[in-house]
Symmetry: C2
Subunit: 434 residues, 2 copies
């Protein structure tokens, strides 16, 4: 006991004070409600997986970030995302699930990243995926994009834009430019374009062996943004005679129809041919979501179509579309920008017991039966100290319960913001504090 124990959380990890935790939980709840409203079902998987499951299909860079350990003879590891566990889950529970399988999963993942602003070693993600057997219509992808839209509408924290592309367009373009064998490298550089700027981007492209003409063509090709504009732009490249290219244009057109039909705000959507997404498992539509007034945050929600991901774990052919909101990161940045609404009270009422604590507990019981969130100060402190404590907690309402009040069955309800006092019966309290 004499030894001093370090009580700080481990570097790179985070925990919140209750007031912030309530805001975090509120953010999480809004997202979860939208996922449910769109018919997604919850799952939860163990944080600990066999190391081989996690390492089956990822880059060396990610492998280094995995928390790995041995237990007995087993090589175990903490999951680094919720997508690999989904793929394993679908493979393992295949016969118990109904397809298309729509699941959401809000949980913690772990990466031993270099500590930096907005990057945590333990972080919540809010993932949502739809997985079909053999084939999944692209209409599911389009519906998923409306879920992104609805979720950010409901969050109502800032103006946002969902920037959409299709990997097939990039892939057919790269093939057309005769750089087919460099597709992975080109996509990786493309994904970094906004971060590094156009000069560095060109340089990187030349370095991997593209010539000037190819790079200029690529830059011109990906520079157009908008909705109908992008479709016209794509149609102007009639020289790219690839069915995948044509199908992708059709899907864009269908998306635009849907946006108009559902009367969604067109300013929230953009086709952006420069979007590549870093992960190599995407095979179709891909997207990112940015908060327009806070471009420095980067994407707050991204995802796309994957047609082969689950094949690592299952012999059954499956196609999926999913996306993820980086909840911990989003929360951290919204909090810093002061964009989180403080509309969640911690408690509805604090009862200050002046004489008999049992009487105060009895009144609390009656109010709690009305689903009010009630705290009681049962300490032996005097009234002044109890009022000071109530003030410090920023509670809005306090109820004073002393011997006289109990005798008369009338209690003093005080608003801590306005100072206003009222004599009330127990039955009258709810309408004031709610």
């Amino acid at each position: 006991m004499a030894e001093k124990i370090n009580t700080k959380v481990v570097t790179g990890f985070v925990e919140l004070v209750p007031e912030d935790q309530i805001k975090f939980n509120n953010l999480k709840k809004v997202i979860e409600e939208q996922y449910q409203v769109f018919g997604f079902l919850p799952i939860d998987t163990p944080a600990i997986e066999r190391a081989e499951v996690l390492k089956a299909n990822i880059s060396d860079e990610t492998v280094k970030q995995i928390y790995q350990f041995k237990r007995g003879k087993k090589d175990l590891a903490l999951r680094f995302d919720l997508t690999v566990p989904l793929a394993r889950y679908v493979a393992d529970h295949f016969n118990d699930l109904n397809f298309p399988f729509k699941r959401y999963h809000i949980g913690k993942s772990y990466r031993a990243e270099k500590p930096q602003k907005g990057r945590f070693r333990e972080f919540y993600q809010a993932d949502v995926d739809v997985v079909g057997v053999n084939n999944l219509e692209v209409d599911y992808d389009l519906e998923m994009l409306t879920l992104v839209y609805q979720t950010f509408q409901k969050l109502d924290v800032a103006k946002f834009k969902i920037r959409i592309n299709n990997r097939q367009i990039l892939s057919t373009l790269i093939k057309y430019l005769d750089c087919g064998n460099k597709e992975d490298e080109i996509l990786r550089i493309l994904d970094k374009k906004e971060k590094v700027g156009v000069v560095e981007f060109k340089k990187m492209m030349l370095e991997i062996g593209l010539n000037n003409e190819q790079v200029e063509f690529l830059i011109k090709f990906i520079s157009v943004r908008g909705l109908d504009r992008v479709v016209s732009h794509l149609k102007s490249f009639s020289q790219i005679e690839d069915d995948r290219f044509k199908k992708a244009i059709k899907d864009f057109e269908k998306l635009i129809s849907l946006i108009k039909k559902l009367d969604l705000d067109e300013n929230c959507f953009e086709l952006d041919l420069s979007i590549a997404r870093g992960l190599n498992y995407y095979t179709g539509l891909v997207f990112e979501t940015n908060l327009l007034d806070y471009p420095e945050i980067g994407s707050v929600c991204s995802g796309g179509r994957y047609d082969n991901l689950i094949a690592t774990y299952s012999s059954q052919k499956m196609q999926g579309f999913g996306f993820s909101i980086g909840l911990s990161r989003l929360f951290d940045q919204l909090r810093e920008l002061n964009l989180l609404k403080n509309n969640k009270k911690t408690i509805d009422l604090l009862i200050i017991s002046l004489d008999s604590n049992l009487d105060a507990i009895e009144i609390a019981k009656k109010l709690r039966e009305q689903d009010l969130k009630i705290d009681i100060n049962l300490s032996s402190d005097n009234l002044r100290k109890k009022m000071k404590n109530a003030d410090k907690r920023k509670v809005e309402w306090v109820l004073l319960v002393g011997e006289n009040e109990v005798k008369n069955q009338k209690y003093i309800l005080q608003n801590m913001k306005t100072g206003e006092k009222k004599e009330v019966k127990v039955g009258e309290i709810r309408e004031f504090v709610k």
Copy 2:
């Protein structure tokens, strides 16, 4: 890819199919709501702690169960309960918290236990604690017992009994019997009494050096159960002249007054002098909760008063009272006993798109705006196959959306249980399915 990857969860770990996950989430929600109604605030702490924090105050047996690993130079470990993290959290955030600090924490913990029925290596606990600086009135303990009562009333899964004792009574008795130096051993054996039976219990007591007379006295002393009966029983031991003994009797009397005053069901409470609780940090009231018709389950909710626990991490004197519901274990056993109510629908309505998927998505949007949980089948399967799929999912209502329906703005709403069909407008759907 050719290599076969084992997709089963690691032995001792568990994951649920969505239908069960919804039931689990429902159980969790009822508990969380009660914790909130009693004015407790949420916190969340990292699953990974410094190993020294976790190992500061626990038995060698528990140390062996900790998942430990090294990362760089750091010895890290996964938390094995939510109480140690609470103690660390309170010490670390002392200046940012309001006291008495009332927090709840529902989260996962990890123990590498031998796999056995109802024991998981990753498990949810639902913890709730109140911590006071210097001193915490016993009235808080009594209020906490009413929270246990309300929570199990709300869960409404089975008849339950909260069995309460006070460590001070056992401690003063052991001192009176002149076995003061064997207190820890006696409590440990006492805690196993129900499991091992009275014969083995006697044998174990004799083995640690008690004589026959002491053991008989102890057995007689702890054999009385009830409420007022136990108080009279205790008062008959006027030879135990210890203030702690007398204070404990007063607290029991106060608890009985509270139960009567709040008109709680007296059958749900019992003073039971044989309750010891295994953990050595308890210093006052301790309790367990049993489901009366399922004694084999053991305690489903237990806790007590601790006056020195936080001292391991802080120089500030603090007293606390807390308890824990073993959520994963409780869920597993209630599910097995078929005691979980299936009152949570997965979704409210499944839309079956027959022709234009965009039309179906538009109708879904309108219904989702009414907070209905809507899934849509957008696949190219025919109607028969889609109906079969709806049946398999056990949805209650389906809505058929085809070209004709869209033209007439009237859709076919079908109840999958009764087979009943209705022609409805979009605005009429909510009242049927809710």
